[in-house]
């Protein structure tokens, strides 16, 4: 189990909002992680340098954070390797088909009151809650 951590949630959330705002102000881009990452993998030609830089920043953030005392917990992952592979494929494929993930739709899109992003966020939160319900509590058990 994990504890409700309202203060760190609000501070961390504000930093996420700040990063999204700065990326739009400085580069004119939307801070959608799945879109930025997919661009580094599938785009031909230019427009990749800023994407690599953003992804690199994200990857090294725990190392820089460690210097100022931010601790990254060991992630608790499911025991099944098959589940991890299937989940990774679904997250990658689904976020591209749906045009965004928790950051692009859930934060940047809703911040602009985009109906598309509001619908996407309701759908992925709803399905994720159903999956957790079935996997943790079972059906009719």
């Amino acid at each position: 189990m994990t504890d409700f951590t309202p203060v760190s949630a609000l501070i961390g959330g504000s930093l996420i909002g700040l990063a999204a705002t700065l990326l739009m102000l400085l580069t004119g881009r939307i801070a959608g992680i799945s879109g930025i990452l997919a661009g580094t993998l599938t785009l031909a030609g230019g427009d990749k340098a800023w994407r690599y830089a953003f992804i690199a920043g994200l990857i090294v953030s725990p190392l820089i954070g460690a210097l100022i005392g931010l601790q990254l917990e060991e992630p608790r992952m499911p025991s099944s390797w098959a589940v991890i592979v299937v989940a990774g494929l679904l997250v990658g494929f689904g976020s591209r088909l749906g045009g965004g993930c928790t950051s692009g739709h859930g934060v940047c899109g809703i911040a602009r009151l985009s109906p598309r992003s509001i619908v996407a966020t309701l759908i992925f939160m709803g399905t994720a809650m159903m999956v957790v319900f079935v996997s943790r509590h079972g059906l009719g058990m």
């Binding site: 189990m1 994990t2 409700f4 760190s8 949630a9 501070i11 961390g12 959330g13 930093l15 996420i16 909002g17 700040l18 999204a20 705002t21 739009m24 102000l25 400085l26 992680i33 799945s34 997919a38 993998l41 994407r51 830089a53 953003f54 920043g57 994200l58 990857i59 090294v60 953030s61 725990p62 931010l70 992630p75 992952m77 989940a87 990774g88 679904l90 997250v91 990658g92 494929f93 689904g94 976020s95 591209r96 749906g98 993930c101 928790t102 950051s103 940047c108 809703i110 911040a111 602009r112 109906p115 619908v119 996407a120 759908i123 399905t127 994720a128 159903m130 999956v131 996997s135 943790r136």
Partner: protein, 154 residues
């Protein structure tokens, strides 16, 4: 060059946000999604704070003609609701609910060198590339005559 430095800085701040908020811990995300279990509402507050800052920030930034460091205008995203949006978000939600990782936290958690996180990121990247191939395939299908001849390497 300034765009690259700015993007890297934004990536680092975004990562700090995920670490501080606890969202880099998949168990914490799953405990938010588990509304009938021992519910941890932290993720809701993360979103509320992120939205409070970014909605005000975007509204202020939008008044500008163009970004500080880039020649092109501000990105305008699609706003319409279509079938790929619904199906894609559903598939994404299933994957998210199975492990509790979405793309941002997965990349941040690579620093722990957890083999399971590394495997998740490889599968996620493969899913993105697969989507690209599939899009190319359906784009070519309706008019096979128009398909380009196979590229010759070298």
């Amino acid at each position: 060059m300034p765009t690259v430095v700015a993007a890297a800085l934004c990536g680092i701040i975004f990562g700090f946000g995920l670490i501080i908020s606890g969202m880099a811990q998949p168990a914490k995300v799953l405990n938010f999604l588990d509304i009938f279990g021992r519910w941890d509402p932290s993720l809701a507050l993360v979103m509320i704070a992120a939205l409070a800052v970014s909605s005000v920030g975007y509204a202020l930034v939008r008044r500008r003609e163009r970004p500080l460091f880039a020649p092109q205008g501000m990105c305008r995203a699609k706003r319409d609701i279509d079938a790929p949006l619904v199906v894609g978000s559903g598939l994404f939600g299933i994957g998210w609910g199975l492990v509790g990782l979405c793309p941002g936290p997965a990349l941040v958690d690579l620093a722990t060198l957890s083999p399971k996180v590394i495997l998740f990121v490889i599968a996620m990247a493969a899913g993105m590339v697969a989507h690209r191939w599939w899009r190319e395939a359906i784009r070519l299908e309706p008019s096979p005559a128009a398909a380009p001849s196979p590229a010759i390497d070298g």
